[in-house]
């Protein structure tokens, strides 16, 4: 499918192929009916056909195309689209090797929260929220000491699954990453897991995809997908900066 940004995640290909198939179906229908449309307009214009025939079209062509459309839609939905979607929404907590990150949207930035070396997220408390601690992370607690918090920046290792625990502090945002074919609303009060595997290194944009106020248009984030070593180095540097 032209115009889509180049795919950069493991499932992007399957989304794109459904996209191509639907558009093919649409194209066939539009060109088919369009050709017929132009033909009848020319053939049955009043100057050429002075008296209409009230019988009109006969035969089963119409019914056949309608049934054809239904079959095509069923095939598209059941064979192609639903499996992709189920794959997207399946619970995958069991995946051991995955990078787990919390992402919390707020007007108008993305808080990206890594659990740090211990692999456990520190506790967050409403009372601790401040301009320097947007998540209200309890740095005093043992699990919170080593947590890494970034603003609108995210580092990910290539070819390793990521699970993002997505939520929001204030209004509804939407975590959209066009290149990864990922989009998920970030609802306040609800944590929604988002799962994908980046397959291409480089910088990719996070675009907030839900109207969230006057700064919606600039609620942009960047995901840097890098090699496993570079990712380790990044974590180590951040951990050093904390000390």
């Amino acid at each position: 499918m032209p115009w889509l940004p180049p795919p950069a995640s493991s499932h992007a290909g399957s989304v794109d192929s459904v996209m191509t198939l639907v558009h093919l179906l649409m194209l066939v229908l539009f060109v088919g009916w369009g050709t017929y449309f132009v033909f009848v307009l020319a053939r049955f214009r009043a100057s050429r056909n002075t008296r209409a025939n009230p019988e009109g079209a006969r035969g089963r062509v119409a019914l056949a195309t309608e049934i054809g459309v239904v079959i095509a839609e069923v095939v598209l939905l059941v064979i192609f689209a639903l499996p992709v979607w189920f794959d997207r929404t399946a619970a995958r907590s069991s995946d051991a090797g995955a990078v787990v990150i919390r992402v919390v949207g707020e007007q108008f930035a993305w808080n990206v929260h890594y659990p740090g070396a211990d692999g456990r997220f520190g506790e967050t408390k409403l009372a601790l929220v401040s301009p320097t601690n947007p998540l209200g992370l309890d740095r005093g607690s043992p699990s919170g000491k080593d947590d890494i918090v970034l603003l609108s920046l995210m580092h990910l290792p290539v070819n390793r699954p990521v699970v993002i625990q997505l939520s929001s502090k204030d209004v509804i945002h939407s975590f959209g990453v066009p290149a990864m074919r990922v989009k998920q609303d970030a609802n306040p009060g609800i944590v929604t897991p988002v799962w994908f595997t980046p397959t291409v290194t480089g910088d990719f944009e996070i675009a907030c995809s839900q109207l969230c106020g006057l700064g919606h248009y600039r609620m942009r984030g960047v995901i840097t997908v890098e090699s496993e070593e570079a990712f380790r180095r990044f974590l180590a540097e951040e951990a050093a900066a904390l000390r």
Partner: protein, 558 residues
Amino acid sequence: MFSTDHKVIGLQYTFTSLTFLLLGFVLILIVRWQLAWPGTPVPMIGGLLGEANAFDGRIVPEFYNQLGAMHGTIMVFLAIVPLAVGGFGNYLIPLMIGAPDMAFPRLNMWSYWLFLAGGIVMLVSFFLPGGAANSGWTSYPPLANIATAGQTAWLFGMLLLVFSSLLGAINIIVTILQLRAPGLTMMRLPFFIWAQLVTAFLLLLAFPPLQAAAVLQLMDRLGGTSFFLPSGLVVSGQALNVSGGGSPILWQHLFWFLAHPEVYVLILPALGIVAEVIANATRKPLWGYRAMVGSALFMGFMSFIVWAHHMFLTGMGPVMSAFFQVTTMIISVPSVVIVSSLLLSLYGGSIRFTVPALFALAFLPMFGIGGLTGLPLGLAATDIPLHDTYYVIGHFHYIVAPGTLFALFAGVYYWFPKVTGKRMSEGLGRLHFWLSLVAMNGIFLPMFIQGLAGVNRRLYDGGRSYSFVTGLEGSFVLQAWAAGLLGVAQIFFIVNLVLSLVRGKASTENPWQATTLEWSTTSPPPHDNFAATPTVHRGPYDYSPAGSAADFVPQGQP
């Protein structure tokens, strides 16, 4: 002024909603300017918008969001629906079924004045501190809960509009079922009447949940409740002091339960008008009238169980989303049947390319594009990249603008002689048509490419800070020029309306040689419509009957 005659009320609706249509268009002209040349002063009207909205004539983000939200609200609730249902419905239903008036004339008058009151509340909201509503026409909480006072006005305005359309819907249903002339059985009703009947049922049953939602949001905003606010919200660094425990998703369910049927309210009357004009312009009966009626009924019923396809990416469970994907695919079938029937109706016709016919014919491929692009949105997998991008905007604008709006234009040109006894200029009409057709496509076609590339909707600067816009800047400029052209095209329409009103050529009683009942009385019709109650002897489209010299036989002719 306070008339209870359905024709007067229909015209009041028509003029008020045309005015709102113009306003909705002006708002979007500003948007198109801002998207093409972000942050540059809006020409001509930039200085009039007020310092808070346009600093030095440059739009500020807060104002951009008002423009979008109010454009959507005005177009849907104050322009298209009142024009299609309040204007065309009110004026034509009694005439087409041979009735003296609507069943409840005073209720009808109330509907109009409530509608006007709702419209005025919406207009006045622009002058409140913080301006008009700015949380999208969808008004999703928590954003809408914490928004400026304009949102409260929006909610009150919506409540008035809902009351208005509930009264209107009851009136239309009762009128159609009860006041049909002798001999006019249900299966002899023109398709337009069927479309209005289904539309009225949708309005009647889908609007109350929005009413409920509006009441709850008003309670949240004025009574300090937390229907849509979960616990633990932190807004601008401050913990929100509310009891919490609410659900923002609840609003979305209530809203879309209304708003999906609402989109069929936008399309059904348009299909009705197109059907009338096409039967008349081809000089033959509609192909598959029964299937069309059945499809309209089925579509109306199904439209109540597809709403969550607007919410695939809220995080709903896979079973629920599978259900809504299936129903969404199912609901596309009746649309396909109706459009196919209209297309097949052309076959064997003797097509007259009058101005109404041009608009009605162009409706078909335009609706085709809009409808077909609904399919990738209806599959959750492909909705992932497309949701909230310009692809969605393109999808529904093809249906409502070169679709519904064209159908309404067709209706205006077609019934103008009925309403005024005068003819409109064909030449100006053709100019209006061709320029509008080109301009509409110039605005909306690029949206699919932008959407696929990832450009989100509702972006103040058109997404200039993102790389997905790279290479597409030119398309925004094209869209701005096309929007300007669209405006120019409407000048021909307005001039045509005014000139034809003051010195148009007198029309004959039945200028289109049509079969339906409204043409069997004088133009304009007298106060009680018909000198004597007509009796109906045949179906609605007895065109070119075999063995008759005339190529049409009116419904009232024995």
